[in-house]
């Protein structure tokens, strides 16, 4: 159903951060590609490197970070661009939706000023045209027309309205790709559903490709075409999110799925994954999940390659196949 050359192609992306004097890997050898109109999810626990992957793609990793690998947007290699050119990828090439709209929007610039700046610099619109366009965008993300939100400030809006503004800014310059970094995490459950519905509707409307970062495999299954499950900076499994949920092949994915609580369930306790995510800089060699894995043996000391299992790609020596689940 999805065809054409990929909008985004990431190959062997690695990111390391300077932590107390030494470079600590936070993302290792990650590859992914997103076709036009496709929605790909990056799923994993906090600290697994999914946000860092997004920051590396947009070209805004934290200061001092070392990024290697190849990132191509629409066939154009981004990692070798001059800083000024690289910066211009944001806005027109990639729209970014951040997790916390309260702190991610400027506190003392009005919504209108923040929206029109990017329209004027990226699209070369006049002040008046940019304001008109900003007003249209606010209506498009479902904000009430009656309120003159262009002159409002972030602290005057509710959480859901803020995230709608954030989405309006992200799509304002017609990017080819949207990266949404846990866009609903900071919101109330009812508002989460509204914002998610809005994202799904906007995607259906304009055929936007999306990289959706989340820790919630079930949310992702609602609208993403593919999910990539990350653990400790490494890709564990990739496949359709529904398949990941129904027939997980990687023991980590299986652990994640088993830990999801279900309404109406009678068991007294959830089944957590034993042990804890190792701290940054203390990731094991070989398979990252091996110390916590029920199926681990000597082979797991070397890092398995991604291999096709059924319709998924799994990085595991002992994938769960069919009957095992």
């Amino acid at each position: 159903m999805i065809a054409g050359p990929p909008i985004l192609e990431v190959q062997n992306l690695s990111v390391a951060l300077p932590i107390s004097g030494r470079m600590v890997p936070v993302v290792t050898d990650l590859s992914l590609s997103i076709a036009p109109g496709e929605a790909v999810a990056l799923v994993g626990e906090s600290g697994c490197g999914k946000s860092m992957t997004a920051r590396a793609i947009i070209g805004l990793p934290p200061p001092g970070a070392a990024v290697s690998g190849s990132i191509r947007l629409d066939g154009r290699e981004l990692t070798t661009l001059a800083p000024r050119e690289r910066r211009r990828v944001g806005g027109r090439g990639i729209g970014f939706i951040f997790q916390e709209p309260m702190t991610s929007l400027h506190p003392t610039l009005s919504i209108g000023q923040q929206m029109t700046d990017s329209l004027r610099y990226n699209l070369g619109l006049s002040a008046r045209a940019a304001r008109d366009r900003a007003r249209e965008l606010l209506a498009r993300v479902g904000l009430p027309k009656e309120r003159d939100l262009l002159n409002a400030y972030v602290h005057e809006l509710s959480g859901g309205m803020r995230q709608r503004v954030m989405i309006a800014i992200a799509v304002s310059c017609d990017p080819k790709l949207i990266i949404a970094d846990e866009p609903t995490t900071a919101l109330d459950v009812t508002i989460q559903a509204q914002v998610l519905d809005l994202l799904i509707a906007m995607r259906a409307e304009s055929g936007l490709a999306m990289l959706y970062i989340s820790h919630d495999l079930e949310v992702v299954a609602e609208f993403c075409d593919r999910a990539i499950v990350m653990y400790a900076g490494d890709q564990m499994e990739a496949g359709t999110p529904v398949a990941c949920l129904k027939t997980p092949h990687h023991p980590y994915t299986r652990g994640l799925v088993d830990a999801i609580p279900h309404a109406g369930e009678t068991r007294a306790r959830l089944s957590p994954i034993p042990g804890q995510v190792p701290a940054l800089g203390f990731w094991p060699g070989g398979c990252r999940f091996q110390p916590r894995c029920p199926r681990q043996d000597q082979r797991c000391a070397t890092r398995p390659d991604l291999a096709g299992v059924a319709h998924a790609e799994v990085r595991c020596w002992h994938p769960l196949v069919g009957d095992a689940s």
Binding site: R55, I94, T103, S104, L105, H106, L109, D117, Y153
Partner: protein, 314 residues
């Protein structure tokens, strides 16, 4: 807004009254007699007593206080014992000198300090940043009077760009007047700009780590816009506090600098008046300074509200 202004004006009353009462009492409690001072060593006790009676200093303290209060409230500040001129006529000329110097120094401090602070912050941990921080620490550590002497030596004695000391009022030529306050303003402004540099730098470093800066960058905005529009806008808010402190220091008359440059400013007037036990002048000058500082605080609050829409006046 009107309510806010009303509240602030009410709050100004104690800010102005308390220092005035303290100065009234301190002057009369301190040793030294204005009448004896004016008449000199040769005066007989009878002459001194007559003059004291003329000046109203023989009245009991509460009576003097009532008379003085009446004077202050009606803004008749009395006549200087020394100059034999009404204080109301005397103060403006001196205040103008201080105002001129203070504004020049403040402009230098805010403009230079903000600029250097921003430059240091965006070059964080580079040699530029370290150099600027080093210069700022040096600027804060140098005593103003010593810096003033260095400036006189370099710019007035050696290069002869500016006069060594003295003052020409703006009515006698704007340029000549500016030349006389250039060095004092520089001596005062350098220290204040060093303070503002440090504040701006640390404020900018905080702001540059904020998520909304990442958002602005992720939107593809040029770095100059991100810094100049998105970062400086919020970083300037705490800097206003420091600039306000600088302004209140400068506007109350920097005594050492006015003495070194023989500037007839408020600080010099006040020191001389205390030495001469010229009560009306001391009281008048303190009233003026207290009013200025109270007004300044109001101005700073208004600037806050302009910079930060989250601050509500009222």
């Amino acid at each position: 807004m009107l309510r806010f202004l009303g509240q602030r004006l009410l709050l100004m009353i104690p800010t102005v009254v308390v220092p005035l009462v303290l100065v009234f009492l301190l002057l009369r409690l301190a040793p030294g007699d204005p009448a004896a001072q004016i008449l000199g060593d040769q005066a007989t006790p009878e002459q001194v007593a007559t003059l004291r009676a003329e000046m109203g200093l023989d009245l009991p303290l509460p009576v003097q206080f009532v008379l003085w209060t009446k004077n202050v409230v009606t803004l008749k500040l009395g006549t200087s014992f020394f100059f034999k001129q009404p204080v109301v006529d005397l103060l403006p000329q001196y205040a103008l000198v201080t105002l001129q110097t203070a504004l020049a120094a403040l402009f230098l401090a805010v403009a230079l300090g903000s600029l250097l602070g921003v430059i240091a912050a965006i070059n964080r941990d580079t040699i530029i940043d370290r150099g600027l921080v080093g210069i700022a620490v040096l600027g804060i550590s140098l005593p103003e009077f010593w810096l003033a002497l260095l400036l006189i030596f370099l710019f007035a004695v050696t290069l002869k760009w500016f006069p060594v000391s003295g003052y020409i009022p703006p009515t006698d030529g704007l340029l000549a007047s500016a030349a006389t306050i250039a060095l004092p303003a520089l001596a005062l402004g350098i220290r204040q700009s060093a303070l503002i540099t440090r504040m701006m730098r640390s404020s900018m470093l905080d702001v540059l780590g904020e998520p909304y800066i990442v958002t602005a960058r992720a939107q593809g905005l040029p770095e100059a816009v991100v810094i100049g529009r998105y970062a400086v806008r919020t970083a300037a808010i705490p800097v206003v506090t420091v600039a306000g402190l600088s302004a209140s220091y400068l506007l109350s008359g920097a005594v050492s600098i006015e003495l070194i440059f023989s500037l007839p400013g408020l600080g010099k007037l006040l020191i001389d008046a205390v030495a001469r036990r010229d009560y009306p002048v001391v009281e008048g000058a303190v009233l003026l300074i207290a009013l200025t500082l109270a007004a300044l605080n109001l101005v700073i609050d208004i600037i806050y509200a302009l910079l930060d829409p989250r601050v509500r006046l009222g």
